[in-house]
Subunit: 233 residues, 2 copies
């Protein structure tokens, strides 16, 4: 029997992270980095909430190394959304939160990939379909943080620090069909929203080397006929 | 005699900030926000080093308001550069520093503009000519932070929170002729570098309503025949 492939999920406790781990667990060894334990993951690294990334990154690397010397795929699905305009008096709080949940985990994924991704491995970032070529008035923190993620992804796709043959793909979800989003937008047509398990299925196909887009791709996740269809932009 | 115009400089103690204040002081009232006092400025707001922007923003607004109810121009020339690759073990420290000196002051400038900029006023951001359309391997923190500044500038140019008729321009310096840069790159041809006083002259022309580019402009600062010539991209 061939040795199992090894996956690192960053954000393994969110809606999308839990779905990715469920989807991959049948035939992958999985390490999860997150704020909580994911019971379906083979290894959990819990980020200390009172420390900055510069404080915990060394410990994270030690724990990852003890689980596996290298990883076939590193998927960053950590993230979050909040609204708010640049004029709001709490603009720095909302920006800071978005920066913490969207940018820092993406930098962590990129950094870890330069140390742990296997040759010909896959690195996935989670961007935002809604802010590509759109100004982000009413979600200034979210917009700025996701622009930084897109820029990081573009850089990693041509980075000399990445292992040979690696592929960097950024998914650009629009609205994901989560309980929280249904509650926030109860009058929407949910059939137009991408389900986490559909996105996870796409990621597993790619991670197993099937129908993989070229490195540097940005995939808008459109829903057509009940299926998530990537539109490469 | 017409009332004096009022300028807010963010980063009034850096090389470019000091030059801007020197250039404008003959006929403008100037408030400076920075880490130190600028003796040529009419008003100084010193940012506390042990507080985050969310902690000091309210106090900054009170002090600005007491100096002038509104400002004709808000110019953000705070910033800094450091190198480093995504693979470096200190990547989060270098990123964090660049984020603090480049992104946070720019968000502050944008936020303050929505509250204090006068109708038909000018908001200037300082971006980076070197990272436009270039991956930023060897200066990952700098690159990501300046991409966020460019995105913020694009958003502010179309923001409904900005006063009527306002103009947002982003300068894109390449290497600025500072003592620090001469020391770091002693073998360079300094005649190709933009001098702070040349950039300040350009900013003063624009701030006084002369030859002002349209809002949303990004101006690469090329040096030709000993003069800084904006190339709009």
């Amino acid at each position: 029997m061939a040795s199992q492939r090894t996956l690192l999920v960053i954000g393994g406790c969110g809606n999308l992270g839990r779905s990715v781990i469920s989807k991959f667990k049948s035939n992958w060894n999985i390490a999860s980095i997150g704020l909580n334990i994911n019971n379906e993951s083979n290894k959990n690294i819990i980020l200390p909430q009172n420390q900055s990334a510069s404080q915990y990154v060394s410990e994270v690397k030690q724990q990852l190394k003890s689980f596996s010397p290298s990883y076939d795929a590193i998927i960053c699905v950590a993230g979050g959304w909040n609204g708010g305009s640049i004029k709001d008096s709490n603009v720095f709080e909302t920006y800071h939160k978005m920066h913490s949940v969207n940018v820092i985990p993406s930098i962590l994924a990129a950094h870890l990939s330069t140390h742990f991704l296997r040759k010909n491995g896959l690195l996935v970032f989670t961007g935002a379909g809604g802010i590509i070529n759109n100004p982000c008035h009413d979600m200034i923190g979210y917009g700025l943080s996701k622009v930084a993620v897109h820029s990081l992804a573009s850089t990693m796709a041509v980075s000399k620090d990445m292992p040979e043959g690696s592929t960097v793909v950024t998914i650009l979800p629009k609205v994901i069909d989560t309980p929280q989003n249904r509650e926030a937008m109860p009058d929407s047509d949910f059939s137009t929203w991408a389900k986490p398990e559909q996105i996870s299925g796409l990621l597993k196909m790619w991670a197993e080397g099937n129908n993989l887009p070229k490195t540097g791709s940005f995939a808008m996740l459109n829903v057509q006929n009940g299926s998530v269809v990537p539109e490469f932009i």
